[in-house]
Amino acid sequence: MSAQGILITAFAGAGLSYALGLTSARLREVFAIVVSVLLVCLIAITHGQGAEHVYYPDFLGLDLVLRMDALAWFFAITVSMVGCLSVIFSLHYVRGKEKENFYYFALLLVNAAMLGIVLSGDLLSFFIFWEIMSWAAFLLISYKRGRALDAGLKYVIMSILGSCAMLLALLYLYANYNTLVISDLAQQIRSAAGGFPLWVMLAFALGFGIKCALIPLHTWLPDAHSEAPSPFSAVLSGILIKMGIYGFILVMYGVVGLKLLLEVGAPWLHFHTVLCWLGAITILIPTFIALLQDDAKRLLAWSSIGQIGYIMLAIGVATSLGLAGALFHTLNHAVFKALLFLAVGAVEYKTGGVRDLNRLGGLIRRMPVTFACALIGGLGLIGVPLTSGFVSKWLIYKTLITEGHPFLALAALVGTWGAILYVYKLLHNMFLGQLPEKYANLEAAPFSMQLPLMICGFIIVLFGILPGIPLSVIGGIVGTLGFEPVTATLTGFGPQIGPLNTLNLCAAFAGVLLVIVAFRGIAARPKPVSQDDSYAAGAAAPAGKYHHTVRFYDPLERMTGGYLRDWVDQFYLSAAGKAKGVFNGVRRIYTGDVRTYVMYIVALLTFLIFAHTAGWL
């Protein structure tokens, strides 16, 4: 089942789901799930088959190629898995809302487009699928009209900017090497004498940077995430951002190749070191902004930008461990963010659209399964040992320290502590503390919403205890991209890379846990008690007012709140404001009645005649 077959099923699935939707909602939902699950199986089967074939001979003189190699497979399986989970989740989420057909069509279209990007063998089809993805994502971001419309607008404007930059770079490549097929493009570039021009790399970086929200180009993400419907924002921050990462890896290591990459940019300031520092900044600032957010999805959006910083940092370091860490963290972050966004979506669905962290609380008593999965996701995001996040962050830190970048490692580690603070704030304000009166008898999320959460949670813990499973695949990918492959045992790394054995860690933890529970068993079992019976200095706990959430990190907010406004966003908006003034001026030229247009034509003609007679032209 080659790459072409996968793409056909994906796009056909999107189209058919819309058609079926017109007849009956039930059929469409079943069909959407079947297509998604089918895609996951198809991709899983094609593991290890490196195939590259032309699927459209000469499209404007170029032949479009589809390629399935280890890197493409890795991203494809991530895309299809998270896409499938979000489709399963949105069964209940979208039921009863208007425009359901449109929602399913757009969701499946985005997933299909992303598969297309990953499987495309040449840059032209890569660009085509890229555009389909951008537009389908715009349709879904502005699904809820109102404020979502301006968030979608901001997203589209920045995406267009990125696409134009990328188109420019494509044209340059075609002009110089008159082929866009990645494999032979790479050979020609590496064999060519001169180095790779910096501005082309910058153009690519602008295109991919906007999509994966690097710090100066990140302003669309917080609005887009908090306005998009939850299942789609899981897809949006889970995998749509990773397409930018895939683009970076493809261009930096697939097309340009490691040896050439190290010389790109001025001799004293290489492109990849700038990328590292940009990644480090992208870790710090958004993480501390995320701390101060009150809306759950906006907090998660800022945290996504922060985590992307980790991946960019790892890519920029340009070492085999770094790239392995980046790829593993891409997979991890996709799973964590999908899980956390779906958990927030489940809470939003059950409490009727409440996302404000100051009005929720104590939901652990009503939605324990959702809390457990969100907890695992949160711990993974922090990188607590026994979760997969830990192994990927360990790889990134190991390479940063041994390569001698202690300040970058510092930024990454402080980012981890920022992650702890905002993950705890999210979990505490939504699930812990006092349960408000109106949610007293809120029943748990439906199974179709809990299933994706449980799957993600299981993956996090499984890859945390046995990281060898993904690492064997990633090790191979790193080998194909021009580094020496990273050999990882099933439970960690051998002594030469660095002592890490997660199975011993898990066994030790389990053993100690058992001993403690046994020791605790000696004492009498405590008496469960209601939430009103908590210590209030002898008085009765005031119902509904005994829950500390507003300005949770008040001291920090007072100290750093002033500096952490989003300057970049304000700069863009002010620039847009000024630009509007200029364009208004231009608009006044077209007054709308024919006479002025005739007058313009006459004036032009006289000018041309005069210029011709005076011999200018």
Partner: protein, 190 residues
Amino acid sequence: MDRNQITKWLKSPGKMAHKYSLHAVYFCTGCGIIEIPPVITARWDAERFGVIPVATPRQGNLFMITGYVSVKTLKAIIRTYEQMPDPKYTVAFGSCPINGGMYWDSYNTIKHLDKYIPVDGWIAGCMPRPEAVFVGVTHLWTLIDKEMANGYIRYKKKYAAYRSNQEMALGELDWPPLYPIEDETEEESK
């Protein structure tokens, strides 16, 4: 740590531990609270007896009521007493909790604290000096040894009586009963 101490420890570690680690919840009512600081600070150090003040009733096992109990304070006392974990001991300072003391005919003080919550030990003195407090503590040790300091068991067994007394003094109570109260019919049948 002579021989019989060790045997006592081995026989009943829980009881001995309760004796030598009385974490006290000082309920600051009436005039007795000013007597507490000298007890716990440098001159008459209570920590050598293992008595240290704790912040919340959840962590303590000794409940010290230092002075007269007004009707409004009784509500807080009962709630604090019920929030303490189970083997707990109550000690009352001065004569006011015993029989109302000099406020014996006042309209808003509780005359007999023992009718509302079980009190294991009384320390005489209006207000007792730190030495008297230590005598009380050591006396409590002997009570614990002889299994006589079982106020909390009495509270559980006769909770219905305590509860009705509390309701008679305070009217409607706005917290649920600590232990399930069988209604009167089963009371007679038992």
